[in-house]
């Protein structure tokens, strides 16, 4: 056999298996209640509507939905999406839109056309690790700025960029999830969004806003979209059907300046020729026939119940030492345990008690987050959520006690 270690590229030699992926494999094997994944709930899939759309599509334009499509994406879908975005205050045309095979592919293509090895990208701390995975695969190097309850710290961002500019190392772009961030659930305020645009303008930097959850708001006031506030074509926006229709078609879209889209189309052509037209035409009908608006209400009702169930259970069972937030939408709650509790060390015990989460430090590029965890509430049933949170509380309490004992007697017998 060929000695692959000898022929792998430098970027491949640095690639590591995703931790979350390994965790998910581990817990799939047992009867563990998982708050670890980021999966939509199958109950939220509009199976009957999808079936109807597909039968119609195959009857009316089977030769189109089963054929190759253009690399940009099929125009009927691009036009519907442009309309959707204009309705939400973003001044775009279908030429600004590229259909991608999941938002992950947009992150991959952005990296492909923007990153040379060693180029910097500015990300939050914590941040979505699928994004840093894509950037690392093209040997990008992450610089981080802390994410607060109301999003990335703008003072720190300004200071960090000033330092980077002095060193001649300004990042290629700032990557942010502004609304119901994965993993922290944090949402950036309108004022901070203005400030983010100002800062990006000052240093003349592109902003990549990944926005998979903005449609999933269960309470509170809608925030203005960064792209609708942007007067300088400085924002690239990623959205996906994975959370508002279903992930199984892998249909997402990226919106941005035409010059960037054009280059990405060339890159995508060498990457996969085109996103599957079959799924694109499902998404098209889902929008054009107005099914989404109605269906979104169902999803939101379903997820909000689960969210409240989890928050109530946490309130009831979690010890006082644990802090957590109360995101008004999205899919996750972020919990912070006492500093001396390591959620990674605690993980196996949790799995023994048949409950799982994602260890928070997985979302930190640098050190940090050792005492944090991400809890997903969309995928489990309400009964599972109650049972799982109760089990997790038990593990946390034991862990806190043990940690306290250790602190008290640093030299164990």
């Amino acid at each position: 056999m060929v000695d692959f270690e000898q022929i792998f590229s430098e970027r491949a030699s640095k690639m590591e298996r995703s931790e979350i992926r390994e965790i998910l494999k581990l817990i799939q094997q047992g009867d563990v209640i998982s708050f670890a994944g980021g999966l939509p709930n199958p109950e939220a899939f509009p199976i009957e509507a999808t079936k109807k759309i597909i039968n119609e599509n195959l009857d009316e334009m089977g030769e189109k939905v089963l054929q190759y499509g253009s690399t940009e994406g099929v125009n009927p879908l691009r036009k519907e999406l442009a309309k959707l975005m204009r309705d939400r205050g973003m001044d775009v045309d279908h030429e600004n839109i590229l259909i991608t095979h999941g938002s992950q592919q947009a992150l991959d293509l952005l990296s492909k056309v923007l990153l040379n090895p060693g180029d910097k990208i500015l990300v939050g701390s914590p941040t979505y690790l699928g994004a840093t995975g894509a950037f690392k695969a093209f040997e990008g190097e992450m610089e981080t700025v802390e994410v607060r309850e109301d999003g990335m710290d703008m003072d720190l961002l300004d200071r960090k960029l000033r330092q980077m500019k002095v060193k001649g190392e300004l990042p290629k772009f700032i990557y942010v999830v502004l609304t119901f961030q994965n993993p922290s659930g944090a949402t950036m305020t309108a004022e901070k969004r203005e400030r983010l645009l100002d800062i990006a303008s000052k240093y003349d930097i592109l902003i990549v806003e990944d926005s998979p959850y903005s449609h999933l708001r269960y309470e509170g006031e809608k925030m203005p979209h960064l792209m609708s506030m942007d007067t300088e074509e400085r924002v690239v926006r990623l959205e996906t059907f994975s959370k508002i229709l279903a992930p199984g078609f892998r249909i997402a879209w990226m919106t941005g300046p035409e010059e960037l889209i054009e280059k990405m189309v060339i890159a995508k052509q060498a990457t996969d020729l085109c996103t599957n037209p079959f799924g694109q035409y499902v998404a098209y009908k889902y929008l054009s026939e107005g099914i989404m608006d109605e269906h979104l209400e169902n999803i939101k009702e379903l997820y909000n119940k689960k969210r409240l169930t989890m928050l109530d259970s946490m309130e009831e069972h979690f010890p006082d030492e644990v802090e957590w937030n109360r995101p008004e939408g999205g899919m996750f709650i972020w919990a912070e345990l006492p500093k001396h509790v390591d959620t990674r060390e605690m993980f196996e015990k949790a799995v023994d008690e048949k409950v799982a989460y994602v260890v928070g430090d997985a979302f930190y590029v640098d050190d940090g987050g050792n005492n944090t965890m991400r809890l997903n509430y969309t995928h489990s049933s309400e009964e599972e959520i109650k049972r799982g949170i109760k089990a997790l509380s038990k593990v946390i309490k034991e862990e806190i006690e043990m940690a306290e004992k250790k602190e008290e007697s640093p030299i164990a017998p």
Copy 2:
């Protein structure tokens, strides 16, 4: 706006729009008979069978086909594919199989995990330009060996590799399309396949065999699969459902050594998380319910008629100075005009006469092929094929006459 020229990566700065793509756009605008694309015929799409499969899938496992899947691909499909390949003499397991979003993605991922900038890849001359596009996007550099009527010239390959070895520049892999090559239609004989394996073994090089057309044989004897002759796990094989089911799902598979597959799974995770499970489950049922075997007979019958119609029309109308081959399968015929005729110069005249082809030199990494063209016969109707070939013959005859006149009077008045 951000100055993108300033921030594009080096690889992006080198990216160019595909010529074929531009040609296809041009001719889509008129009533041109196109022999240019490489599209399957919509008549070959099993629309009713697909509809039945999808309705069953949504009824029986809607929560699975609409959900995220694992990066390797969904196991039921991987297992069916492993079985299909074992039935064809290849000793593989589902762990050797990665489902990709079209074979183009396999080429992208192979490039991602194998190529550093400047690494060499050995390809045929001519060769499939989607492949060289993928390699170039990762700054790979092509070395070429001539493709004959019976495939790549093995003496030249041996000599080329010896030269490259002396320079310490052995290629990362040899890329070949052995059966009904795109663009030339050439098929490699069994003896030469043996020799290809011997040569690759001698220089210890990986072979990537792209095999989209091996199921589309209309006459003649089946050739042994390279992978079934390979005793050293030296062959990576790419196959696709695009030509045996439909391209609209973008489902393809790559088979290779587990160590390579594992690395590619990590790379794919950062690229698009997973191939759309919806399409994967369609492909799975298409195989497991035995629909493919029956349907392949329909496709072959349809395409063979078109192939014979085109060959007969060429025989009837093309001038004696033109030579062409008679591939026993696939989707293309390759024609060679007299040396002094430039098919690129001739192209606009052909479009004026409402017929299009792909200029052959597009498939040459180096110079060459200026007097050649690729003709696709699967997408047009038989009537269109007859009309198109007649129109093309007229253009060719005029071009030959003109070229001859030029030759006779080099100093024009």
